[in-house]
């Protein structure tokens, strides 16, 4: 043998990963090219138009409001469940995290189903002569729908942060003469800030990329504006998408800067922190948690149940749910399987052969994930409409809206979710184990199949489940790219609640929430 087989494996991985990376980046590149077709003066003119500026202003306002409100709910909730003797804190922890499984457009449906025109409240008040309610649509509706179902990002992240803080730091502060409050301000909070920020960043990114809730609430931010412009002017839609991407990049840059300013801890004692006795504040704390759970979980589920019963009474059949459910499951299963498979070479290249090129390829896989779904869908609409038409005609496919393209879009969007847990799992597999396998006379492929894969299986499975869950809930890509007639649970809920057919949206919404809850349990299980 002239060269180490190490290099051979790396070359094979590169041969697989490089073309894939190209495919992952293609939509973004195409979007940029397309937006470039708008002339410079025209672009400048369009971007400074008051309508465009209003879209930017509304987006920024919504992002700040949802992130801020999520911190105000999530951080106290995290502190109560981790650091106090809150009664029933294990249950509160689960209940406060569960709203995460309700997609914001389902939440928006529940809100309009309760408070919108022809909603529950108006139905109840009609006999009293109330014809119109103050409108739920617009900023407040969008803010509520997004905040109530994304604050768990801050809650979970702040919890993890609180549990990670070395209790000895707070004890050291006490032995140095600082009271509990001073310790919280000078030691705990600065340690916790990165976690809070990370959670708030997730909420901000979620808000910026959310399409379903803002369009049901008719609040004209980037995603909705892009969707509405699709049929009018594709180039301007592309331009607007680029501005949205710029907002996203700016958010990521700000958080990366904040992260650079944090310093790693130098050691850690493994001792559980002492819990604060709430005393007479116990009931206030329970009331706070109960209020959040009531608004974010009980009320939406109640509204959905109400409309489900209402619909069945008025002739809706539950059978109508089966076809969209099947389509949702099929699309999610295929996308999750493909992502899980494609994640493996990326993960191996990144973990076992680190270097400049590996790092670049790893970053590329995250581009699609960082992009809002509307933008990915839009760029694939362009690509599909232009280049794939010929191909599709040859294969007898239905224009740019083909199942394969839909799956490709999901993979571009969510491959990163499959890579993340698989990468963590592989990092935990000591390379010495593989080397032992090789030294015991097994080939590389066999060592991979008998040693590496079994050890990282739960990580790969968690990633696949995560992609499955996300694809089930995904709305804009499905809406724009699914073949005609391929309506899924998500698109069914969206169209029905956009047209105020709440009874028709209820069954798919409940099914979707139930499925999300199941797969979330699966995702979370490996940690316990």
């Amino acid at each position: 043998m002239t060269r180490s087989s190490l290099f051979e494996t790396r070359r094979v991985l590169l041969l697989v990963c490089l073309p894939l990376t190209g495919l992952l980046l293609l939509p973004t590149a195409y979007l940029m090219a397309r937006a470039g077709e708008v002339g410079l003066t025209e672009a400048a003119d369009y971007l400074t138009r008051s309508g465009t500026l209003r879209i930017m202003g509304r987006s920024a306002l919504l992002v700040a409001a949802t992130a801020g409100a999520s911190v105000l709910i999530g951080v106290p909730a995290a502190w109560l469940t981790v650091r106090t003797d809150l009664r029933g804190r294990r249950w509160w922890t689960i209940l406060l995290a569960v709203p995460l499984v309700i997609p914001s457009y389902v939440g928006a449906f529940a809100l309009v189903g309760a408070l919108g025109p022809r909603g529950m409240l108006q139905g109840a008040l009609e006999p009293l002569g109330v014809e119109r309610l103050p409108s739920i649509y617009g900023f407040w509706g969008a803010w509520l729908a997004i905040t109530l179902f994304s604050y768990p990002y801050v809650f979970l992240s702040a919890r993890a942060g609180l549990m990670q803080i070395d209790p000895a730091l707070e004890e050291a502060s006490a032995t140095l003469g600082r009271s509990g409050l001073a310790t919280f301000r000078h030691v705990t909070l600065p340690q916790l800030a990165p976690s809070i920020l990370a959670g708030a960043l997730l909420v901000a990114l979620y808000t910026l990329s959310d399409f379903g809730a803002v369009s049901i609430m008719q609040y004209n931010v980037f995603t909705r504006a892009i969707y509405l412009r699709l049929s009018l002017n594709l180039d301007l839609a592309a331009l607007l998408s680029l501005v949205l991407v710029a907002f996203t990049v700016a958010l990521l840059a700000v958080s990366a800067r904040a992260e650079r300013r944090t310093y790693p801890a130098t050691g850690r004692t493994h001792r559980a922190p002492r819990r604060v006795a709430l005393g007479r504040w116990q009931w206030a704390a329970v009331a706070f948690c109960a209020a959040v759970v009531a608004l974010a979980l009980v009320a939406p589920l109640g509204v959905m149940a109400y409309w489900l019963v209402n619909g069945v009474q008025h002739g809706e059949t539950l059978r109508d749910v089966f076809a969209p459910l099947q389509r949702s499951l099929r699309a999610a299963a295929v996308a999750a399987g493909v992502s899980g498979l494609l994640a493996l070479p990326f993960v191996f290249l990144q973990v076992r052969y680190p270097g400049g090129l590996s790092r670049l390829i790893a970053r590329a896989a995250y581009v699609g994930y960082a992009l809002p779904g509307v933008v990915v869908a839009l760029s694939l609409v362009f690509l599909g409409a232009r280049s794939l038409n010929v191909l599709n005609d040859l294969l007898g496919l239905d224009g740019y809206r083909s199942f394969a393209l839909l799956i490709a879009a999901y993979v571009v969007r969510f491959l990163a979710q499959a890579i993340g847990p698989a990468r963590t799992a592989l990092l935990q597999v000591n390379p010495h184990l593989e080397e032992s396998g090789l030294l015991l006379g097994r080939g590389r492929a066999r060592v991979f199949a008998t040693v590496t894969l079994p050890l990282m299986r739960s990580g790969v499975a968690a990633g696949v489940a995560l992609v499955f869950l996300t694809v089930m809930k995904e709305l804009p890509v499905t809406l724009l790219l699914a073949p005609s007639g391929y309506d899924t649970l998500a698109t069914r809920i969206w169209s029905a609640s956009s047209e105020a057919f709440y009874a028709r949206a209820a069954a798919p919404a409940l099914v979707l929430v139930a499925l999300s809850a199941l797969s979330l349990m699966y995702v979370l299980e490996p940690d316990d």
């Binding site: 006490a174 032995t175 140095l176 009271s179 944090t262 310093y263 801890a265 130098t266 004692t269």
Partner: protein
């Protein structure tokens, strides 16, 4: 009388979820003294430290610092009002603060603070590192920052929880010497918790040995090493050979001959002979034996020798004589030995 003690613990008890961690611990530490609490891991020594610091509430018992009661059963003075300094096992340096901010954390604001920080950094020999963050320091440097931070507010008592366990073995000896110098210079009363008997004996003025939540013996390191109260203390403090014997007053008959006892005893005993009490010589000059194994350390060597009766003893001798396995030798015992009633652990 009580005034001369920096710390007094009386009948301290503490359980965690039914497991008794500390069981009736009592001891007193004179002012300016450096005490080491020595015991195997899980013996409750860290809990004693945390009870003194006020980080845990005792189930029963009292802690007095400079004569003032700070814990009396569940009634405690909170840790931030105790004037107790603590160096944690993980150092617990605030990662988001610089070295200077860490050291100044426990000091009142004002002009004095910067001066005191500079003074402390000079004491621990870290001048010029003020603006570094803890993650940018070596383990030994982090340790000295933790020490400076704990000493800065001039605590009445300094507590050190396994402060050397996170350091490389190579670094440990140097840091140990530094710490002893710094503590003597600061003139502070201190309690060190450790499971390392070398560390405890070389650093401390007095020693408390803990097993299973109780302090079984206190005294100077020399007194405890030479005259351990139980066989377990003896074996924990250093390499020991235990041979069965028959005590007859001042002497005990063993496989190594009649050995002089430290304290008179009678009947069946276990006789404890330290490895360094056994000297090897050419055949004919003592108890005959055969070398079975040798480990050479440079500064000394360990030689295992089988007595003709079958028992194997371990000797610690000077490194110069090149003993070889199989060689016939003679063993001689120097100094008095300790004896414990047979079968006691």
């Amino acid at each position: 009388m009580t005034e001369s003690f920096a710390v007094e613990c009386c009948g301290l008890r503490k359980s965690f979820g039914g497991v008794r961690a500390v069981n009736a611990v009592s001891f007193a530490l004179a002012r300016g003294q450096f005490m080491a609490l020595l015991g195997p891991s899980g013996c409750g020594k860290t809990t004693v430290l945390r009870l003194i610091a006020g980080l845990e509430r005792p189930d029963a018992g009292q802690v007095r610092i400079n004569g003032g009661v700070v814990s009396d059963g569940a009634a405690i003075v909170p840790p931030h009002r105790r004037r107790v300094g603590m160096v944690f096992q993980s150092y617990a340096l605030f990662p988001h603060m610089t070295v200077a901010q860490n050291v100044g954390y426990g000091l009142p604001g004002g002009d004095g603070r910067a001066r005191r920080v500079a003074e402390m950094l000079e004491l621990v020999d870290l001048c010029g590192l003020d603006e570094r963050h803890p993650a940018e320091l070596s383990g030994g440097q982090q340790q000295r920052v933790a020490l400076a931070r704990a000493l800065a507010p001039q605590p009445d008592i300094l507590l050190l929880d396994e402060p050397f366990s996170n350091l490389d073995v190579a670094l440990r000896a140097q840091v140990r010497e530094d710490v002893q110098r710094i503590l003597k210079q600061a003139g502070v009363s201190a309690i060190l918790v450790t499971h390392d008997q070398d560390e405890a004996m070389s650093l401390a003025d007095c020693l408390g040995v803990m097993f299973d939540g109780a302090v079984v013996q206190t005294g100077t390191p020399r007194a405890l090493y030479d005259d351990p109260a139980t066989r377990r203390v003896a074996e924990f403090l250093g390499e020991a050979n235990v041979l069965p014997g028959e005590a007859r007053g001042d002497l005990a008959a063993t496989a190594l001959g009649d050995l002089p006892l430290r304290r008179p005893a009678r009947g069946a005993v276990d006789v404890l002979i330290r490895a360094e009490q056994i000297a090897l010589a050419g055949p004919g000059q003592g108890v005959p034996a055969a070398v079975t194994r040798v480990m050479y350390y440079g500064t000394h060597q360990h030689v295992w020798a089988a007595l003709d009766g079958g028992a194997i003893v371990k000797a610690r001798c000077a490194p110069d004589a090149p003993w070889r396995a199989g060689e016939r030798v003679a063993l001689r015992i120097s100094g008095p030995v300790a004896a414990f009633p047979a079968g006691e652990s």
